[in-house]
Amino acid sequence: MIGPFHLSARWPQRLLAQDWRIVALVLAIGLFGCVVLYSAAGGRLQPWALPHALRLLAFTPLMVMMALVPSRTWAALAAPGYALVLMALLAVEAVGAFGGGAQRWLDLGPVRLQPSELMKLVLVLFLARLFHFLPLGYLDRAVGLWRPVAATLVPVALVLLQPDLGTALTLLAGGAGVMFLAGVPPVVFLVPTALGLVSLPLVYRLLHDYQQRRIDIFLDPSLDPLGAGYHITQARIAIGSGGAFGKGFLEGSQSHLLFLPEPHTDFVFATMAEEWGLAGGLLLMAAYALLLAWGWGVARRAADSFARLAAGGLVVTIFLYVAINLMMVMGLAPVVGLPLPLMSYGGSAMLTVMLAVGILLGIDRESRWPRGGLGS
């Protein structure tokens, strides 16, 4: 019997069995990100394009290595991993509380660890494991549901305290996604959603001033044309002024003349759209759609319930990233501060998504080459 922590000696075969087309797709999106960041810096590799490329290069082997890990190993690691990341989140809270001011990462010398990002992955795996062992009859009973619900709400609450509304919402939506896929009755989602909608005004009042303002300004950008509403307005101008085919590489005036705020991070899509137009935007969206569709396929083909739920949950997580960022940039959602994975400058989101894709690759390989698993 092969132990869960023991890598099979047949790893070269496993490596070759990856779906390399998906690796290529991820790299293609990342490299397009490099191109856009090169332009955003005014046609220079520094300070964004080169580090972005190096990160992409460093994370790719990591992603492929994740794919080598069998899914039962993930199942075995889910609970301790969740506990570890939760403690890290608590540690961040504590450091923030004592150090003064909000903090989102742990400073571990050379590495800045952002536990809330890892939580997105670990939460999905942990929930998948919980549901894997939950008998069908318990899906609509409190005795069966309290653990997944608590496992979701505790990190959400911690992240909300940071305060990081965007990440908290993605965690909540990711958790809810896994529960939904596991077959939790719709009424379990509908009642809290309804309650949430009713209590929205109350929540609004509990939000920080700057968060309230973001929502006000999202509803009416003209409230503050030179302040926070400026972001929304300028992003919309950048996207729209690109037209069908864009202004051309290195020709974006909105980003180069600094009208577009954060042209390299949260608003990188606007930077891209200004120069590449609707065509570039649709192409990029198609690439993400391809990745997500493949993810759903992996989930559908997965050998067991854990792998299925984990794959579905990871697809939901990736989707949330992309969708919330695009909605924000196009003025359909408030500015919550979520990057566009693989495109935006910055390591956290890229790492999260590439790890997720790595796990998906492994599940995909297993489903085509069935061996082991948790047994169903």
Partner: protein, 650 residues
């Protein structure tokens, strides 16, 4: 169905649902983007373009002001300035603090800028400092990269080479007031660095001098920094205006006046051209054109020499004896007297129980017109005024230009007051009495005239024509109609005026010109500014020199030269100068000496200035000695007190 199969079925259904929802959202995003790019694309492209390109008005260069020989009186000096766009600067105070490290910015100026910023329309900009010099401009350009909203600009500042001497005639420039903008709604008024005339000729001819703005289309970044010039439309400079003034003459007379409070008007008898319109003390128009420091303003307002009042055109004075010329001409023109009519002066002139006096205690004896003018005999003019009647005197005063408002490019000219019976009834509700006639006859009473009007009077008497003053040297030389006074009678008045300076017993003999072949004619005047009580008159009137400055009489002089063929006329008023002959006439003498013999005038001025310098030094030395003496005495007193205490250490 097995549990596993059911789970898989549920998952597939739900995955389909969730995937479908995601696909729908994805399509929604694609549609949204297509909407932005295709439907709103044009509008948003315009928005991006207007982000990128900013059209800035270039304030037009203001028209030059020249003197009659084409020498500049007001010009535009290239300069470097700093502007701030508050909406881009963010924290304006911090920005000003940083600018303040490179350019001196007073706390006062900062407060003013912050106040202005509050009323500024969005995207408007403010001029923080003008004329900062090349070094500061270069230093600022270096720091610009991280100074949002700060724009260094190359501009012009108004410069007045004549300085203080021309301040009252030319005025100064300044930023347009909020009211001015609201009245016209002209965008040009919002351009920092745009200036409008605030006083004098600058204000009266503002529209002609203003010109039309140019425009610069520039590419800017979000911080308002200009990246490149796209196209430029040159500004249209304002019209160059030639004034009748003579810069050298006015300069010379200003130096001659020194620190007295005086006005000097010189007018060309043939054309009416004003050659000098001097009013001192004044202010530095270069300083006023930048930003008037509040402290300076308060000091100027408090000054008893009234440096903010353009005295030549707006100062109103009792004309005193200079008005006797009017009384004489009124009597002659009305036919009430001839030049040869003799009046005997016994120094006393009793009328209706009161007694009027002549300034000469022994009286002048029998005097006819010519001698009466030369000696300025009060009694003669009392008699003439009574013969002519008050209405004829007032009419003659107006004919000669007193109490008139002239059409000059200078705002708020004062007409002055020429009283007559109707006016008195209207204004004070009492009938005219013989006392009023006598007071008016010698230029006292309710008469108030400006130095400009006195100069016009002198020019009209000198030329025998209705000379109208003008300040603009454009247009042909005008021809004026003759005065309604027989020429031979006018000649006698002029002869009397010549005797004032050149004849025996003239009141201003010391001011006779020392230029061969040119003689000056004129009339002195001394205007009381205080009441002399009957008791003081009995004791003997106090001499001016014993009075404090502000109670001394005003000194006046009107005149012309050459006396046989007048070319220029002059009016001088020295506030509290005590004596027309001693304080005012020498300035007229200086003016004519300068016109007819410039080297002599300059030599005399050099002597005078050397003398002033010597006196100033002597006064300083005396003050130092007095201070040293006081200090010595204080030290002695302290030493005396010190002896009571512990003795000095060995």
């Amino acid at each position: 169905m097995s549990g596993a199969g059911l789970r898989e079925l549920v998952f597939r259904r739900r995955a389909l649902l969730l995937g479908g929802a995601q696909a729908a959202l994805g399509v929604g995003l694609a549609v949204r983007m297509a909407w932005l790019a295709l439907v709103e694309g044009e509008r948003l492209r315009d928005a991006a373009e207007s982000n990128r390109v900013s059209t800035r008005l270039v304030p037009p260069r203001r028209g030059l002001l020249l003197d009659h020989r084409g020498r500049p009186l007001a010009e535009n000096r290239p300069a470097y300035g700093v502007e701030v766009v508050p909406s881009l600067a963010g924290d304006l105070e911090a920005t000003l603090e940083r600018i303040g490290r490179l350019v001196p910015l007073s706390l006062e100026a900062r407060a003013e800028i912050l106040a202005e910023a509050r009323t500024l329309p969005p995207s408007g900009s403010l001029r923080v400092a003008d004329d900062i010099g090349w070094a500061a401009y270069a230093a600022l350009n270096v720091e610009l990269a991280d100074l949002a909203g700060v724009v260094p600009v190359k501009t012009y500042v108004r410069h007045y080479p004549g300085g203080e001497a021309f301040a009252h005639a030319l005025g100064y420039v300044g930023p347009p007031s909020r009211e001015q903008y609201l009245e016209r709604r002209d965008r040009l008024f919002l351009v920092p660095g745009f200036r409008v005339g605030k006083d004098g000729v600058e204000r009266a001819l503002d529209e002609r001098l203003r010109g039309a703005p140019g425009a610069r289309r520039v590419e800017v970044n979000a911080r308002g920094r200009i990246l490149r010039e796209l196209e430029t439309q040159a500004d249209q400079p304002g019209e160059t205006v030639r004034l009748s003034l003579d810069r050298d003459l006015q300069d010379h007379l200003a130096r001659r006046v020194g620190d007295a409070s005086a006005s000097v008007v010189v007018i060309d008898c043939a054309t009416g051209d004003l050659r000098c319109l001097l009013s001192l003390p004044a202010y530095d128009p270069d300083v006023f054109s930048r930003r008037i420091p509040a402290e300076l303003w308060r000091a100027l307002q408090a000054d008893d020499h009234r440096p903010l009042l353009p005295k030549a055109t707006q100062g109103l004075y009792v004309p005193g004896s200079t008005f006797k010329l009017v009384t004489a001409l009124a009597a002659l023109a009305s036919g009430a007297a001839t030049p040869d009519d003799v009046v005997t002066c016994r120094s006393r002139y009793p009328v209706g129980g009161n007694v009027w006096h002549c300034h000469r205690r022994r009286g002048h004896g029998p005097v006819a017109l010519r001698r009466a003018i030369a000696a300025s005999c009060n009694v003669y003019f009392y008699a003439m005024a009574r013969r002519a009647g008050p209405d004829a005197v007032a009419a003659m005063a107006r004919t000669l230009g007193l109490g008139q408002r002239f059409d000059l490019p200078i705002p708020s000219l004062k007409a002055g007051i020429v009283p007559d019976p109707a006016w008195l009834q209207d204004r004070f509700g009492r009938p005219w009495n013989v006392g009023d006639t006598l007071n008016t006859a010698i230029g006292q009473g309710a008469l108030f005239v400006s130095p400009l009007a006195l100069a016009v009077m002198a020019a009209r008497i000198a030329s025998g024509r209705m000379v109208v003053p003008r300040l603009l040297a454009d247009g042909p030389a005008p021809s004026f109609p003759p005065l309604p006074v027989p020429a031979d009678m006018l000649a006698v008045v002029r002869a009397g005026m010549s005797d004032v300076v050149n004849g025996p017993g003239g009141t201003a003999r010391r001011a006779a010109l020392r230029v061969p072949g040119v003689r000056m004619a004129g009339k002195t005047g001394t205007a009381q500014v205080r009441r002399i009580t009957a008791a003081e008159r009995r004791r003997g009137v106090r001499r001016n020199e014993s009075l404090p400055w502000h109670l001394r009489d005003h000194a006046l002089f009107v005149g012309f030269a050459p006396d046989d063929a007048p070319r220029h006329a002059v009016a001088v008023v020295v506030e509290h100068g005590a004596s027309g002959a001693r304080a005012a006439a020498p300035l007229a003498q200086a003016a004519f000496t300068f016109i007819h013999d410039r080297p002599r005038a300059e030599a005399e001025l050099a002597r005078l200035e050397a003398e002033r310098e010597r006196r100033r030094r002597a006064a300083e030395a005396a003050a130092r000695r007095a201070a040293a003496e006081a200090a010595r005495q204080a030290a002695e007193a302290a030493g005396a007190g010190g002896r009571a205490g512990p003795g000095p250490r060995p």
